[in-house]
């Protein structure tokens, strides 16, 4: 059951000229939230911007006696993300959530491989904490443009997550896409594992293809332009193929945002 909360900004940490993490006091949303779910966010009042924007829940913020709220990882690309970047403690953000289907997280002895591209790191802080709490061995494959855009590495490693990186300029880890170290690791992996991916759609398509080639399942979190987050508007559709039938559009807000990567027909848009 989603709730609408006028959440107070507790902190806004600018990680770079584009990226920030905003911590929000919204225990009601955070308490009911499972990793991979999202919130619809409106940082300003009035009609500009009018619609809310979807954001994955990044961290669940805890204190010794309970849950304080959650944080969002944002990259400044438009009006709403610019407003989020400029927030100050005490400001208010309207948050509707939690919404959507969460990741199906695995237990030991199965391993979890998280694959993030850029701001696609967003759903994986909460996911990693949940996995580590289950005792599941967790690896983060993390790709970005350069070392300056790799964030929270210490956060993940201090929680026991193994980190493998790739950067486009080669300044950290492999040079090139995150699929390079991922393929290499898949070629060597022997045990049972489940993959989880979030990032730009070409990356999700590539990771899904790599997973399929190696006979692994991969849950992907997609981000489509979304109007309402509740299944009302049919704007955030993505083509999927279910039970061998023809591809058809489903709403990523309620059928996703987490899908089995193998069910998505990535090339459908160009064809159709």
């Amino acid at each position: 059951m989603p709730v609408d909360v006028r959440a107070r900004v507790v902190a806004n940490t600018r990680l770079s000229p584009d990226y920030n993490v905003v911590a929000l006091a919204a225990p009601d949303i955070a308490a009911g939230c499972r990793p991979g779910q999202f919130v619809m966010v409106k940082p300003g009042r009035g009609h500009d911007p009018l619609l809310r924007r979807p954001f994955s829940v990044f961290e669940i913020l805890r204190n010794p006696s309970g849950i304080d709220g959650f944080s969002l990882l944002s990259k400044r690309i438009g009006v709403t993300t610019s407003l989020l970047y400029d927030l100050e403690p005490g400001d208010v953000v309207e948050c509707l959530g939690p919404l959507g289907r969460s990741f199906d997280l695995v237990d030991p002895p199965r391993d979890a491989w998280l694959v993030a591209g850029g701001v696609g790191l967003a759903p994986f802080a909460a996911a990693a904490e949940d996995l580590v709490a289950r005792g599941t061995r967790t690896t983060l494959f993390y790709g970005a443009r350069s070392a300056r855009e790799l964030f929270y590495l210490d956060w993940f490693s201090s929680r026991g997550v193994e980190i493998v990186t790739a950067t486009e300029d080669g300044s950290h880890g492999d040079r090139g896409h995150v699929t390079i170290p991922l393929e290499r690791a898949l070629g060597r992996a022997r045990g049972e594992l489940t993959m989880y991916a979030c990032g730009p759609e070409p990356m999700l398509a590539a990771v899904s293809a790599v997973a399929a080639r190696h006979g692994r399942t991969c849950q992907v979190s997609v981000e489509r332009v979304m109007g309402c987050g509740m299944g009302g508007c049919y704007s955030c559709v993505i083509p999927v193929r279910e039970d061998g039938g023809p591809p058809h559009y489903v709403r990523s807000c309620i059928h996703g945002p987490v899908f089995d990567g193998a069910s998505i027909v990535w090339e459908y848009r160009r064809a159709g």
């Binding site: 059951m1 989603p2 609408d4 409106k42 009609h47 500009d48 911007p49 009018l50 619609l51 809310r52 509707l96 489509r224 332009v225 109007g227 309402c228 509740m230 299944g231 009302g232 508007c233 049919y234 704007s235 955030c236 559709v237 993505i238 058809h248 559009y249 309620i254 459908y268 848009r269 159709g272």
Partner: protein, 314 residues
């Protein structure tokens, strides 16, 4: 005994004047967890054809100043699955369900009306002759006076359900379409559907929507929609359901004063799915503040006397 908030649309009694607009509330069931559907005056289902439809490829929406464009392309499950899978649940939830129907031919509207007349739990039919996004979505009927008359009249012959043609604002004189609807036997008219519009990403030089053009909705269109409701009020005697950019109680009251007997909310529900109780509370407190006993007393209660005096004296 009529209550404070209930309204009458022809033969249809609604417990309050707020209705969820077609295409902006899914099939209703999507919102059942968040909203008590029985607390709304009614809900209008997403536009239904006889057969399922896939709709347009993304991008399907883009935000514009105080509004949005959409070209969903009427993705839908078709009338039979709607009756089998959604109607029973809507009945259980106590929703007053108005079904929005679309056809590419006169026969398709007639067939849809026949099928839905036999289904249990349909309160009224809204004839979508105004979707700007698909050629076959009835817009050819909605842009021609004889076409409008013919569709309404043909559906009138096969159903006793209240029929509510939904008018497009993309015409020069919307009031004449309200008149054609009344003459065809409509119980009410609803307006407006979206305004045909376009947005371009200047960096890529691409249209923002895959369909290139789409329909504009939201607060940006409200003053035009209010004017159109006002024009229709003066042209017909059947009730009018007004919509276009309503985002708070004040906006809803503006439509009532212009002549609408009830209102629909679309885009604003995307922003706030809990809008319904807030708007109702606003209307209620406005009525208390102005000593208005019944919502119906606000309908068309626009006061133009000062305006006229000014004109006479100048």
């Amino acid at each position: 005994m009529p209550g404070k908030l209930d309204v009458q649309i022809g033969g249809l009694r609604l417990k309050n004047p707020l209705i969820a607009a077609s295409g902006c509330f899914g099939y209703g069931v999507e919102y059942a967890e968040a909203v008590d559907l029985s607390s709304l005056g009614g809900i209008v289902s997403k536009g239904l054809f006889l057969e399922p439809r896939e709709g347009h490829p993304p991008e399907r929406i883009v935000e514009t100043p105080s509004g949005m464009l959409n070209a969903i392309g009427l993705q839908g499950i078709g009338v039979r699955r709607f009756i089998a899978e959604k109607l029973p649940e809507l009945r259980t939830l106590g929703a007053t369900t108005i079904v929005n129907i679309c056809g590419s031919t006169l026969d398709e509207y007639v067939e849809l009306a026949r099928i839905l007349s036999d289904a249990e739990g349909v309160a009224a039919l809204e004839l979508n002759i105004s979707c700007p996004n698909v050629k076959e979505g009835g817009i050819t009927f909605g842009c021609s006076l004889t076409g409008t008359f013919d569709v309404v009249n043909a559906v009138r012959r096969v159903t006793t359900l209240p029929i509510i043609p939904k008018l497009t604002p993309n015409v020069t004189d919307v009031a004449s379409f309200a008149r054609a609807s009344q003459e065809g036997g409509a119980d009410a008219v609803s307006l407006v559907n979206t305004f045909l519009a376009m947005a371009i990403d200047v960096e890529t030089r691409r249209p923002a929507l895959s369909n290139i053009v789409g329909g504009l909705s939201g607060p940006a269109i409200r003053p035009i929609a209010v004017r159109m409701v006002y024009e229709c009020r003066r042209a017909v005697s059947i009730p009018i359901i007004g919509m276009g950019g309503i985002a708070c109680g004040r906006d809803a009251i503006e439509f009532l004063l212009a002549g609408a007997s009830a209102v629909q909310i679309g885009t604003a529900n995307f922003v706030d799915p809990f809008i319904w109780q807030k708007v109702l509370a606003d209307i209620d407190s406005y009525m208390t503040r102005h000593g208005v006993a019944r919502v119906a007393d606000l309908v068309g209660a626009l006061d133009t006397s000062a305006r006229e005096k000014e004109w006479i004296s100048s």
